[in-house]
Symmetry: C2
Subunit: 316 residues, 2 copies
């Protein structure tokens, strides 16, 4: 009888300590815009769903295994950067001068550590360079050739312009998307240790010039994470997201007005941002694992999953 009691007690203790029993949640986006279903072929839509699913699975595997949200968001965004379907990394749109200039940011909600890069032209995975900025430099934001120099010192994988060559098929899809001037990838996650993280990566606006930088690498605008509140990654018309400090405003409404994640996201995206004329959306997760994905455009490539078995994909 005593032995059975001890075994049961141990199982209870192990169960409590077993990280696999705890809550995790993840959400990702691949850009927002006023696209309509009829602008895509069935094959294109299938391909988007397949790639979003693959990317999500990368994050699920990390979180299920007790891994860190910071690793999950970095690896998911890396996957999306490597996929030519999205406007980040390999699939990045061209600037006015026919170059690519990439922006990315990552933030650790546990420490408020953050790293970001802007206007880099020769780094294969800007999100991983952003993480190096966070962990291996005393800085938060590095730009241009200086950021590339830091990348080389850190042994980050570089890529020449031929890597960013875009296929004819991609160009066709891009013609649809570029009219919206949107397209960014991002991921937010809660891990079983209770830590939130956010990551965003983008090629920016099609035909952008003058070294324009959008909201993605701006902590508090396109990317933000804080264990006290939520993790947010945004996509849309970046200038409006900067002026409205969208990501931090969502966090502030939760912190200072005790709004739920969903109510905070709704107020900022559907009311404040929309009223200001800003088009786009966000994905967000709070410390309880609630996920909110909301846009004031007709479409946002998005997906999420959690430890309760939820697994969802949507575009429109």
């Amino acid at each position: 009888m005593k032995k059975i009691f001890i075994v049961v007690l141990m199982l209870v203790i192990l169960g409590k300590q077993n990280p696999y029993a705890q809550t995790w949640a993840i959400a990702l986006h691949g850009g927002a815009g006023n696209m309509m279903p009829e602008q895509f072929t069935k094959e294109q839509l299938d391909e988007y769903q397949r790639e979003l699913s693959n990317a999500l699975q990368v994050g699920i595997n990390i979180l299920k295994g007790g891994g860190k949200s910071l690793d999950a968001v970095e690896q998911v965004v890396r996957y999306l950067e490597d996929c030519p379907l999205f406007n980040a990394g390999k699939g990045s749109v061209y600037t006015h001068e026919g170059r690519i200039e990439l922006d990315a940011a990552i933030m650790d909600g546990n420490t408020l550590g953050a790293g970001a890069v802007a206007s880099v032209r020769d780094v294969k995975n800007p999100i991983s360079l952003a993480r190096k900025v966070m962990e291996a430099s005393p800085h938060v934001l590095l730009v241009g050739s200086g950021a590339s120099e830091f990348a080389r010192l850190q042994g980050v994988e570089m890529a020449d312009s031929s890597y960013f060559f875009t296929s004819k098929r991609w160009e066709e899809i891009q013609r649809v998307l570029s009219r919206e001037k949107m397209g960014t990838v991002g991921c937010v996650a809660l891990d079983i240790h209770g830590n939130l993280a956010a990551a965003t990566s983008t090629g920016g606006m099609t035909n952008k010039r003058w070294g324009r930088v959008g909201d993605a690498p701006i902590i508090g605008a396109g990317t933000y994470a804080n264990n006290a509140t939520c993790a947010v990654s945004a996509t849309g018309h970046g200038e409006f997201f900067i002026r409205n400090t969208v990501a931090h405003d969502i966090s502030a409404l939760m912190e200072y007005q005790n709004l739920s994640l969903n109510a905070a996201v709704e107020k900022v995206i559907m009311l404040k941002l929309a009223k200001a004329g800003g088009r786009g959306g966000v994905i967000a997760v709070d410390r309880k694992g609630n996920v909110s994905m909301m846009m004031n455009t007709s479409a946002m490539f998005r997906a999420h999953a959690n430890s309760n078995g939820v697994l969802s994909f949507a575009i429109f």
Copy 2:
């Protein structure tokens, strides 16, 4: 009797319409750090006070005359950029490579319009380029050579490296300041039309490298203005100001918790930022003309004035 009544009535109406009777307020800073009085000679301190006073007068003249807060903050910061005593414009510190790389931002609290530039090397007054970004481009943030290209297109005054040559005397003072790695100039103002504005300009950290960008050009971190709450310009260890979205956090505490300007500034600078290990300060003004100037370092070059006749200067 009737005539006298009409004259009095007209005077009352004119008085109400007379913009000169209304409230204006202005504050500026020239950097914060853990400097002590004994590190400066009497002559150096006099020179600082004289330049802060001259800069403030530029703003007072604009605001007293019914001018816009946006013009006041731009012109005050231009004055400070042209003064070799401060780490902005002409007096900017050198990067690791012996160059200068300047950051600046301006924000209009009436429209939430904002403009910013980062890592520009050849523009005499980055704050005026930031204003051009706000008013003559669809963007908020331009960086590097792209920002310079935009500057030339806009007819903004350029400057070659000889302009940024710093005198021996300045270098001596700079040796004291640079140990703190701080030094930025900024200005916030309320005009008689009820509009708030903020502007910040900096040469960044001494010996910075890899294209490091601090908080000054980051809307919501080092610079923010919103007629609904306040205008803020920050100075200090920029990475902490970015991670803590300091300027927007002050605004959010006023908007969402109804804190007074001073209580919001105190909470963010003396509690949250200090707890995170971030050193520096802010100047801020609200829509009633209240001014708050607070730092968690031993010193911040600062000054303010308002329509009630207040005129003050302080360093320690």
